[in-house]
């Protein structure tokens, strides 16, 4: 378990590496260097299936165990133990979540982990591999369906003429030949006034995006904002038009795709309230208003159209999804059982397709530096019973809900003279919030933690930095520099 916090999962781990926030590449490169130095690299696999190993080996050479201990704060022995355990295991998986991706080097963090799997051959085999654990029930499916700036459904690249031609002829339109913007680039485009109208479906960026002040002022500056949601969220309150929507998972039919690429059926169990309507019906009506009649909205028909255009999904009929408890893509035809794991082609003799590249990456510290004014690291994350900005989860009466707090180590609390439950002011270079302090031994000195589950009470994203990874567009939510200020005695508890 590699995590700056000693979480409940870490309690169960054989080994916990409590690294400093934003030092993942230094750790991964040191693990890679140790595997190479100990002669544990799978050289046969590397020769057979990869390219650019030499460049990788040269890059990681300087990440000695001692150097990694200096950068990451993890004892060298623990890094060595991880390297040897991973390299010598018969099967091994690397799983990660937002602690890897919510950094300005999020993509590089992932590349550093991919390199470890290539180095050891822990990829493309049963029980070995790489797995980003998805935090939302259809974040995998959203990307699969083409909700990415450069992809058509089935991960097909929008800038490939041959692929676009198929979609052009199926849809009877000309698909724009250039990639679009990701979320972060959209906000930059709003700033330039290149983006002036926005249609937001099922997302609450006014509270979920980093640097709330900037986000809200950009949303307010739009010529036209349409929000389609179950609730009148803070974002919806800024909208010119609100389209009340049915709950996609219980008030309409369709599919979602989970973290293991399994396409699963969701089914209507109840009628939506009031004027709320199925997302599909809303989108079809809008198309009609724009002069394009798509007929009667029917989830299965939309899915079958997707199957006709995405080879990865071609074999997944509704009947099969029903009968086989979902299917994992790729599923190329109706006789294909779906695939349990990916990349087995790398092991074939001769190898099929292009080799897998090592992409060497260097450690880069977080963009929001610690200094005398902002000496403490704040990292944000989730709690078990809550979910993102709380639109869904704030309402149920969970005994585990305890509201927002600034969680800090017992050592920091003692040094700063802060009592458990005392309200404090948390200040970053972008803003400040007040919240009760909560002493939590899960945290090490210098590290604090907050969630984004109760933004109406404590707008934690006033603190976070919106500098983002240029490759993924994801902001560095995980590393904010803060200071903690005691409130004057007798201050009203807001």
């Amino acid at each position: 378990m590699v995590d700056p916090r000693r979480t409940g999962s870490a309690e169960w781990a054989d080994l916990w590496l409590g690294l400093d926030v934003g030092t993942d590449i230094a750790l991964a490169n040191a693990v890679g260097r140790e595997i190479i130095a100990a002669g544990l690299a799978n050289l046969d696999f590397i020769r057979h299936a990869t390219v650019d190993y030499d460049a990788y080996a040269a890059t990681v050479e300087k990440y000695t165990l001692a150097e990694a201990e200096r950068i990451t704060g993890v004892p060298a022995d623990a890094i060595r133990e991880l390297a040897h355990a991973y390299a010598t295991a018969p099967r091994a998986m690397l799983c990660w979540t937002l602690g890897i991706t919510e950094h300005v080097v999020g993509v590089d963090n992932v590349l550093s982990l991919i390199a470890l799997s290539l180095l050891t051959g822990h990829v493309g085999r049963y029980g070995s591999g790489l797995a980003p654990l998805r935090g939302q029930n259809n974040v995998q499916g959203g990307g699969d369906m083409g909700a990415l700036p450069d992809r058509l459904p089935g991960f097909q690249h929008v800038e490939r003429d041959d692929i676009r031609a198929r979609f052009d002829s199926a849809w009877g339109v000309t698909v724009p030949p250039k990639r679009g913007w990701n979320l972060s680039l959209m906000f930059e485009a709003m700033e330039r006034r290149d983006l002036r109208a926005l249609w937001v479906i099922g997302e609450n960026p006014a509270q979920s995006e980093a640097d709330t002040h900037r986000t809200v002022s950009l949303l307010e500056g739009l010529d036209h904002l349409v929000v389609q949601d179950l609730f009148l969220t803070k974002t919806a309150q800024l909208a010119d038009v609100v389209l009340p929507a049915a709950a996609a998972w219980s008030e309409s039919d369709g599919t979602v795709t989970n973290s293991e690429r399994r396409v699963q059926r969701v089914r209507k169990a109840a009628e939506p309230p009031g004027e709320a309507r199925d997302d599909l019906a809303i989108i079809f009506d809008l198309a009609r208003a724009l002069g394009s009649d798509w007929g009667t909205p029917r989830a299965e028909a939309v899915w079958d159209e997707l199957r006709s255009l995405s080879p990865l999904h071609a074999g997944m009929s509704y009947a099969r999804l029903e009968a086989e408890d979902g299917l994992q893509w790729p599923c190329y035809d109706e006789t294909h059982p779906g695939e349990l794991f990916l990349h087995s082609r790398l092991w074939e003799q001769p190898r099929r397709g292009h080799p897998a590249p090592f992409v060497p990456v260097e450690h880069v510290p977080p963009v929001d530096p610690l200094d005398d004014d902002f000496p403490i690291r704040l990292t944000t994350g989730r709690r078990l019973e809550s979910y993102n900005t709380g639109v869904q989860s704030a309402g149920y009466r969970s005994p585990l809900h305890r509201g927002e707090s600034l969680d800090l180590s017992p050592e920091d609390a003692e040094r700063l003279g802060i009592a458990d439950g005392e309200r404090v002011r948390v200040v970053s270079r972008r803003g400040s919030v007040e919240a009760p302090a909560r002493i939590d031994p899960v945290l090490r000195p210098g590290l604090t933690f907050m969630t984004m589950h109760f933004p109406d009470d404590v707008a934690v994203n006033n603190l976070t930095i919106d500098t983002f990874d240029p490759k993924s567009g994801t902001s560095e939510f995980k590393a904010t520099a803060i200071r903690i200020e005691k409130l004057p005695a007798g201050a009203p508890s807001a």
Binding site: N138, A247, H354
Partner: protein
């Protein structure tokens, strides 16, 4: 900077292609390794031959033949604990009756399910449970209709031990010291009857309905949740399921996954919504629909079985044969769906 511009060290190879082309198809479909080939196990049940896979149980053999076998503490997604003994069968050549749910089938086994010994054992088990526990909701999800049918089939008469003793006061059974159980005078049947424990907004514990099958303990522990909030306390007839020191759930280790509710065979553990609707007389299963869908929260993709009455989600279960989590959920999937019920807020 876009993905295709990344790197800049593309010796003899264009990283660009990785971003534009899907990986090549494997020539063979990747699957899990085949288990070692094994011979099926042949045995007879009630003089009928049957074959099961190695590792399967007598219960599996019975069900393969359509031999109805009552079970209470058995669940397909839990380790057998052999607590309730209502599934016992006779195995030729063995001194004691065997619990069908856990005894592995062996080659040449001769199993009988309708002998006098088996019928008597099942009858007495049902009578002892029926005399001391509220079984009104027990086994209601079983295909054969559960308790009422079994009582009739085995001619069980729970009333023969006399009238039920007075119910315990709230907390009384939990306070009984281990080893101090009094000898009953025989004038009344011992009972576990006691007030329902209602100490949180999500679920209630009605230990008047508890048959001590241990399923909740297993689901809370190593069979699913690894939380260990509950265990069996006390001994003999005073044994009961308890949090540590009988603290209320909100101060216990409970994480409200509700996997104990999902496996409880008698309705002792129940959604608070169901408990209150039953108390108000508005719980109406004939007016409910049951729909399988996928949890709206994280990327695991647990199957939810939504019980809906008048467009309100009143209970959430998960089928034990779900390929993703085998019927177990977390607090968000189990209880966090009520946001769709908040019609005024929508």
């Amino acid at each position: 900077m876009s993905g295709q511009e990344h790197g800049g060290h593309t010796r003899g190879f264009e990283l660009f292609h990785i971003f534009q082309e899907l990986p090549a198809r494997s020539s063979e479909i990747p699957v899990a390794p085949e288990p070692d080939p094994t011979e099926p196990v042949a045995l007879t049940v009630d003089d009928r031959p049957v074959e099961v896979a190695p590792g399967e149980t007598i219960l599996d053999a019975c069900r393969a033949l359509g031999v109805e076998t009552p079970t209470l503490c058995h669940a397909p997604n839990l380790t057998p604990v052999n607590a309730c003994r209502v599934c016992v069968v006779e195995v030729e050549g063995q001194r004691t009756l065997a619990p069908a749910c856990s005894r592995r089938a062996e080659a040449g086994m001769v199993v009988r399910t309708e002998t006098e010994r088996v019928r008597t054992a099942r009858k007495v088990v049902l009578e002892l449970l029926g005399s001391s526990v509220d079984l009104s909701l027990a086994g209601r999800h079983q295909p054969d209709g559960g308790l009422a049918g079994w009582m009739e089939r085995y001619d069980a008469d729970p009333a023969r031990f006399g009238p039920a003793a007075a119910p315990a006061e709230a907390g009384e059974r939990d306070a009984r010291p281990t080893g101090h159980h009094h000898v009953p005078d025989g004038s009344a049947a011992e009972t576990v009857a006691q007030p329902v424990k209602v100490d949180n907004d999500l679920y209630v514990r009605d230990y008047s309905k508890c048959i001590l099958c241990y399923k909740c303990v297993e689901a809370c522990g190593t069979d699913a949740q690894f939380t260990f909030a509950i265990a069996v306390a006390g001994r003999g007839f005073d044994a009961r399921i308890s949090t540590e020191w009988d603290v209320p759930l909100p101060t216990s280790a409970c994480v409200y996954c509700g996997n104990c509710i999902g496996v409880c065979p008698t309705g002792a553990l129940m959604f608070r919504s169901e408990h209150e609707m039953r108390a108000a007389g508005t719980w109406d299963e004939s007016a409910q629909t049951v729909t399988e869908t996928i949890c709206p929260y994280c990327g695991v993709g647990c199957t939810l079985e939504l019980h809906v009455q008048e467009d309100q989600v009143v209970k959430v279960l998960s089928p034990s044969d779900s390929s993703v989590t085998g019927g177990h959920l977390c607090i968000k999937g189990r209880f966090g769906s009520s946001f769709v019920n908040e019609k005024p807020g929508r």
